[in-house]
Symmetry: C2
Subunit: 202 residues, 2 copies
């Protein structure tokens, strides 16, 4: 599902490497290294060495380093856009369900989000950071309204930001095991921001 690969053959003649799909292997190695060291600090040489191929071989599959990153980000992009489109379609969105779905997506793409986190500045120029910011704004609007005041927005920022952080830092099993409470915690923050449960503090 990740790349439109061209073959089904793992029984080819004398394939130099493991299975058959070098392109997918490159993406896998790159995502791991980007997440560990950041995009900028990871060189193509390093990725190539990990797979025991040459730099030049990478350039057959991806036209540039940026191109590789863009391909990596595609699944998240698709996922999130689809989710947001669904929200726009339905009239009423229960906050806890919105938060829950957002958490799920973050968990599913935790590796990429970690890479994003490791090297935020580099990723700005491929438009990734802008995308994420845009999604967050749209979610804010769904949760607290288009023109919420600052305190209300703060609740949304902490709720969504907290969920995203958790998804990245928790191991996948932990994230799954504690999904319920994660959402509950985020919801508490959201409500405290929106409704003056603790008035007279601004």
């Amino acid at each position: 599902m990740i790349g439109a690969t061209d073959d089904a053959g793992d029984g080819s003649a004398a394939v130099p490497r493991t299975s058959g799909d070098t392109r997918a292997e490159i993406q896998e190695a790159a995502l791991d290294l980007f997440g560990r060291q950041g995009y900028e600090k990871t060189s193509l040489r390093e990725i190539a060495e990990r797979l025991d191929i040459t730099k030049a071989a990478l350039y057959y599959h991806f036209r540039s380093k940026e191109d590789l990153l863009r391909a990596l980000a595609e699944p998240l992009r698709r996922d999130m856009e689809e989710f947001l489109a669904g929200l726009d379609a339905s009239a009423r969105n229960a906050p806890d369900e919105v938060l829950g779905s957002y958490f799920d997506i973050c968990v599913r793409h935790a590796a990429l989000l970690l890479a994003l986190l490791r090297d935020l500045s580099s990723l700005t120029r491929v438009g990734l950071v802008e995308d994420v910011m845009g999604w967050r704004r749209r979610l804010d609007a769904v949760l607290v309204g288009e023109d919420a005041d600052m305190p209300a927005r703060m609740g949304a920022i902490i709720a969504l930001g907290g969920l995203q952080d958790l998804a990245v830092f928790l191991a996948p099993e932990q994230a799954r095991a504690h999904r319920g409470r994660a959402v509950a915690v985020a919801l508490a923050a959201l409500l405290e921001g929106a409704g003056p449960r603790t008035p007279g503090m601004d």
Copy 2:
């Protein structure tokens, strides 16, 4: 207070540049650029050009790029360690006061934290990220206890992480204006994590 500078002279003979303390100017320019573009993507040439000096001149004041970064991080380090030492000393620490003080420190050092955020991976090797993680663990312990279970810890993670994010993303005046509610939101998350206010969700 930032660097142990050596002079008091702004009236020296024919000082090439603005005031007198080039070292401080370098730090200021570097922090701004690191925060804007990240550590890795900011070259020493760029910093030098901004101040209209040469790269080589930088090497007189700082032995390396890493050294410059370390110097930049010193004030935060001192501030946070002092705060944590104070917490260890006092017997009881009210959660909202702990959260508030943490927020204040984050706001005060927002520029550095932003740089940290922009290029997390590069900053790992100077030990900065490890430090931040260590501080967070110690704060977790203060807030929810040394051996809290995962749900409780999640409350602390979201509360502290959210405050840190807010401090970085908000303009200083906004941060000051909404400090009260920021702490209240974080506190709500903390409590929801610790006490099962919404039971049966794990």
